[in-house]
Structure formats: C-alpha cells, structure tokens
Symmetry: C2
Subunit: 420 residues, 2 copies
C-alpha cells in the first residue's frame, strides 16, 4: 500500500511539473544541461564509489565478466556521459518546432507545433550510463522522466540521478521533473504501468521477458525497443564483392547489437558462386553457421550445422548466423516479413527495380539497398542522439531521438469565427 | 474456444492481407472506392431491409426516439454514405508520401516515407454509416480493418459490410483486408484486444465505459476518441461582443458533440459587464446554467443553479453550461489543465501576448484564439475526412484523417557502405 501511494505521488507530481517543463526555453534547458555535465565530472568520485558497491555485489553474485564490465564506471566512461549531455546542447530544441501551417477559407490560421509528450517512464536494464542519457534526452525534449533501472546498477543509477537532480533543483526546475524509483521492489513496475491518468508513455529497454511483461501489463502507451532479427538478402543481380562486404560487416562488426544480421538469404542462382567463399570467411572469423539443406549441399566441404525452423526466429546477438537459399526475391520478402522482427533488413542487388520492390514490400522500420543493417542508429542517421530503436509502428518507428519524444498540438488563430 | 479461434483466424488473415494492401496503387484503391460507392446505391433496398430489422428491435426494446433516429438509414443517408466514399477518391493517397529525405556524409541517402499502419480494429457504437466511413478511410490509407459495431446496428452494419466486401473481392483485394466481427458476443472485444501479434492499432469510439474497458484490457496500442470537456475563457482584454458570439456558438450550435463548450471561464474584471447579458442570452436559448458563487452574486436576478465541483468535470453533451469566474489568465490555464480533457479550448482576448501564453500553456490537442471550439473537426481543418478526434498524445492528436492512419519507414540507399 505504501509503495502504491509513493508511486502515485511521484507520477502525480511529474504530471504537475510537466506543464512547467513544457514551456522552458531552449536557453534555460541548455544551461541546465551544461551544469549537469559539469556536475557529473565534479562528482566523479561520489559516482564511482556508488558504482563500486554495485560491482562488489555483482562479483559476489558471480555475474559474468562481460556484465561486470558493462556495469563498470571509470573516469573515461563518466567523461563520456558528461559529453553526451553537452552534445544535446548543440541539437535544436524540438519543442515549439513548426510542423505545418495553413489557412482556411474562413480565415482561421492553423499551426501544428511540437510539444513535449508529458511524463515518460523508462524501464531499462544494466548499463548505468543509460541513466544520464535518458535524463538528458527527456529533459531536452521537455518531458518529465520517471526512471526505473536494473537492480544490478541500482547504486550507480541512484548516484547519477542524485547528482543531476540536485543541479535541476538549483536551477529552479520543479521537483517532479526528474524521478528515479528508489526501490528494487518488483511490484513497482506493475503499479507504475497502471497510472495512465498521469503517465503518457512507457519505453521499456531490455530483454524479451521485460518487454513482454510491460506490454501485457501496461495501461499506458508503450513504445518497444524489441529484438532485431535482421536480414541481408543477396539477390541474383548482386555485385558479389559488395554483398560479401555488406554481409560480413552486418554480422561480424558488432554481433551483440540489435541491428546486426542474424539471417542471410541468398538467391539460388548465385548461391553456388557466393556461398562457399562467404561462409568460409565467416567461419574463419569465428562465426558458427546454421544452414538450410540447399546451403549444406553447396558448401559440403565446410563445417556448418543444420538450421532448425527456430533458428530463423532467433536473435543470436552472437557470432552465429542462419543461412537460407531462396528461390526468388518474393520468397526473400515473404521470409523476412514472416520470420523477422520488422527492425532492419537489406538487399544487395545491382537492379534498382528489384531494390525498390524489396524496400516497398519488406515491412520493417529500416530497409536498405546495398548497405549494412548496422547503420540503424540515431547517430548514424544524423539525429544526434538515440533513446532507442522502435520496432513498433505507432508514433515512432526506427531510431528515436528528440523529435520522436514529442507530440504536437494545433494552435488556431481567429478573429471571432464561429461555426455555421 | 470457437470464438477465440475464429477471431484469431480473422486477425491472422488480416495481417497477411495487410502486406498486399500496403502496396496497392492509388489508382487501384480509387477505382475500388468508386465501385464501393456505386454498390451502396445499387444495394439500397438490401441495406434498408436490414436496417428495418434493427429499427424493429430498437422500437421493441423501447430505445429513445433520438437513438432510433440515429440508427435509421433512409435513401438520403445512403446517398451521403456513398458520397463520403467518393470524397475519399479526391484526397491524396497518404501511402508512399515522402516525409523527409537527407544524405549522410558517407553517401547514404535516407528517405522517410509513409506506409500503412497495418491492421486496425475499430470498435464503435450506434450510427451504421460509421461502418462505411471507417471502411473507406482504412482502405484508402492501405490498412486492413476489423470492425466491431454496436449491437443495435448489427444488421445494418452487416449489410453495409457485405455489400462493400463483395466489391473488394471482385476487384481482387485479398480476403483479410476487410472484416466485421459477426457475433454480438461481448467476449469478442476482450479476445480481439489480446491479439497484439496481428493487430497494430485499436480505435474505440463511443461512451466512457467502452473507452475505459478498452484501455484497461488492450495489449494493442489504443488511440482514444475520449470525451471533450471544452472551455472558452473570456479574458479581461476580450472584445465582449466577439466573446459573446464565440461562447454562444461553442455552446448552442450543436451541444451534443465533443467539441462543444461545457465550461465557460470569465476574468473577474469583466465578469460584471459580461455575464448578465451573456447568461441571459443562454437562458433564453434554453441553456441551464450551473455557476460558481461569484457568478451567482453577479447575476442574482437570473435563474442559475449552483455548480458543484463535479460539474466542472462533466461532459454534458446537452444545453447545460458550467460557469466560473477566475482571478487571472494563469488561473484559467490551471483550471483547464486540471478539469479539462485536453480536447479543445479557446481564449477570447484582444492581447496577442496573453493569447500566446494561453495557447502555449493549455495542454490540449486544439487551442484557439478568438474562435469557437466547434472547429475541431477533420473537415473544418481541411483534412477532407475524419476517423475520430484523438485526445491522446501518442501518434495522433486532435482530428485524425488519412495521414494519421499511417506509420512510416526509412528507405536507405547505399552503394556498399559498411559501418566502421
């Protein structure tokens, strides 16, 4: 009961504060961001001390070394956090931006302008630098944030939050503008997700379990950063050297991220020419291959496993790749639409007509012609920031940056018009 | 169990069909729309006969006369339905529309283009002509529709659906493109709202009970057409003649709709001058006034009721108006943000600075200066259509027409780029 009351109070105060935050000038927000970056550097030792407590617990609980590394905040990472806040200063303030304006025959002038969404809950796992990033992005876009980080980073998140919140309060920003759920009680998420009278949006960032739980519980709109089962399709009319470079990059350059290739589709007419060299290169780079029967016949001298149906539905996030030979462009499109996660998919082909068909028919946030899927990223797109990559179709799709953290309103100017 | 299976089959087939529907040309869609309009006229008698069954049941169940009237389909209303489909032909196809394009330093060319949302469930009550409107709007925007109408209009809805679906099938449009839930079983809504693997969006249109039920049950994104508690604020610097015309129009011209004024706020410094004449005019027009204590003192010669707290939170949809004297522009803004439903609110003032403050600070979909709230409407905005008025902030806010029924994707063109 107390937890319920506490979360209700937080959400209500966030909504109240959202009206003040919505009308802050770009200058006011930017001078806060500068002070926030400075405070992170000035309070480096405080943050690192808190981080040490998390690392101690992680080691005690025998978390994998890779996870402990993700968790660790050293001087360099704190400097990077501060820099990410300074970068936001350079980006244009999305709030107040004019989307469209027009006049009606009766003289009404209609302006469609960007406004903050209001109150945003972000539920995330692991890396504590996400705390500073989310705070910066929500603040710059005029939104009140309620953060709920992962339990492994609890002390680090809390320290970063305290440092940044102190700066905001010193600058006269209202109390409810920034919130971090200060309990590790798991019921907190369920309770928050019911407060649709105060909260406008939930962004879950984390594993499949977290996402599914949020979607099935929430009464608040959710924008999901869901998994990426990304494909590259090598067409019969592809430049095979280019195809090799694109596929290798998409799989190997950073296999643990959502925009890496998990499944490679190859047109049957070039399969015999393309696959042996390509798969050999992958295997030499340490990639495990899980292939369809046709592929296995073609590369019978190489060590490849047999792909199961489930492989085509798996986001490995690792040096593993499923490979399938397809009969046609149409088959490739159907496979991607049925097995993919509508994230990022690429065609390599020399034929622009076939490329356009692929780009039109593949139902994914980002569809590429002759380029690696790894470019699906707010920074690579030139948005200057990223709070996540939406695999949803409502409100925001693909990389989400400042504009995607806004809604809009219609401002209508008249001179006494009434409706007939 | 059978119902569950049936709805699952419908939703799955809708998703499959959505990929074909998404790539239809404007010309193909427009020629279907023309044939659909013609079919409604040709099958007039079939539709009227079905409608007679609904009317018979309504009379038998002693539904109010106003409701029976809303339910009735005569020749004129069927012609209007057909015309609304023909109107859609004139509107630009939103699908494929370029939102933005830019190039990156590495030569990648990024195009942000509109695509259909996919599969949309629309749950609505009462008027059967909504069936044709929703079918037309979803089809033109390339979306598959699953409709669930009110039980009173069941036979009429089914007849309209059958006539239009026949046309689509004859034109080679896939089976799943258009669906109407053919049972009145109330569990159907609950079951549909869980099928988030197939359905992209739910639009509920109806009373508060329906909306609340949908929001609390749905695992699918919902865009609500919620109630409108709209305000006009008469500022101390208002032209009082203009204020009188705007307020009268906002309340009286059509009181039963969501963009009608439910609450009038008046600055204390002009209250004594403005209120007696204004309220007298309202009372003569049959409007019941529920006023704050200050108003009651000012108009003590008039018959006005005392407003309760709950009055300021009530959408009357009738010739009833709550009236409140406020101390300042700021008070007006706070009242609207706290008691309103973020739909449509207007300020009447001669001071542009005060108008801009109101428009910036009132957190509503449509904010007006010197105009009636009654203009919140897709047609009045010049959008050429309307599937509803969103009181949400995610994806679509305010009047929703064809563009609001689309999502977008990024098409990225390269020449072999890989990520460093």
């Amino acid at each position: 009961m107390d937890l319920k009351k506490e979360l209700n109070t937080i959400a209500k105060s966030a909504q109240e504060s959202s009206r003040q935050l919505a009308v802050l000038s770009a200058q006011e927000k930017n001078s806060c961001l500068k002070a926030m970056a400075e405070a992170l550097l000035a309070e480096k030792d405080f943050i690192k001390k808190a981080n040490q407590r998390d690392i101690g617990l992680a080691v005690k609980n025998r978390l994998p070394a890779a996870l402990v590394d993700r968790l660790t905040l050293d001087d360099k990472r704190i400097v990077l956090m501060a820099e990410s806040l300074l970068e936001l200063i350079k980006l244009p303030d999305p709030v107040g931006g004019l989307i469209k304006e027009w006049s009606r025959p009766n003289g009404l002038k209609i302006r469609k302008v960007r406004v903050p969404i209001g109150v945003i809950v972000i539920i995330y796992e692991s890396r504590p630098n996400v705390t500073a990033e989310c705070i910066g992005l929500c603040f710059k876009s005029g939104n009140c944030a309620i953060l709920r980080g992962g339990s492994e980073a609890f002390n680090s998140n809390m320290a970063i939050f305290q440092v940044l919140k102190r700066v905001l309060l010193k600058h006269g920003i209202p109390q409810g503008a920034l919130n971090l759920v200060s309990t590790q009680d798991r019921r907190a998420i369920d309770l928050l997700l019911k407060l649709n009278q105060y909260i406008d949006l939930v962004i879950p960032r984390g594993g499949e379990g977290l996402i599914k739980k949020v979607v099935s519980t929430s009464r608040i709109p959710v924008i999901k950063h869901y998994k990426g089962i990304c494909h590259v399709y090598v067409d019969e009319l592809a430049d095979l050297n280019m195809a090799g470079e694109v596929c290798f990059n998409a799989k190997v350059q950073r296999p643990g991220v959502c925009n890496a290739m998990e499944s490679m589709l190859v047109h049957r007419d070039i399969a015999a020419k393309f696959l042996p060299g390509m798969l050999n290169r992958f295997i030499e780079a340490g990639v495990e291959i899980r292939a369809c029967p046709v592929t296995k016949v073609i590369v019978k001298d190489l060590k490849v496993k047999k792909a199961k149906e489930a492989d085509y539905r798996t986001e490995y996030l690792d040096l593993i790749l499923s490979v399938k030979v397809v009969d046609s462009l149409k088959d490739a499109i159907n496979h991607i639409n049925n097995y993919g996660t509508h994230h990022s998919d690429s065609i390599v082909t020399g034929d622009i007509g076939r490329a356009e068909e692929f780009l039109r028919c593949v139902d994914s946030a980002c569809v590429y012609h002759n380029a690696s899927t790894r470019f699906t990223d707010g920074f690579e797109f030139g948005l200057g920031a990223e709070i996540g990559i939406s695999t949803d179709k409502l409100h925001a799709r693909g990389p989400m940056a400042l504009e995607e953290l806004t809604s809009y309103k219609y401002e209508i100017y008249g001179h006494g018009q009434v409706r007939q």
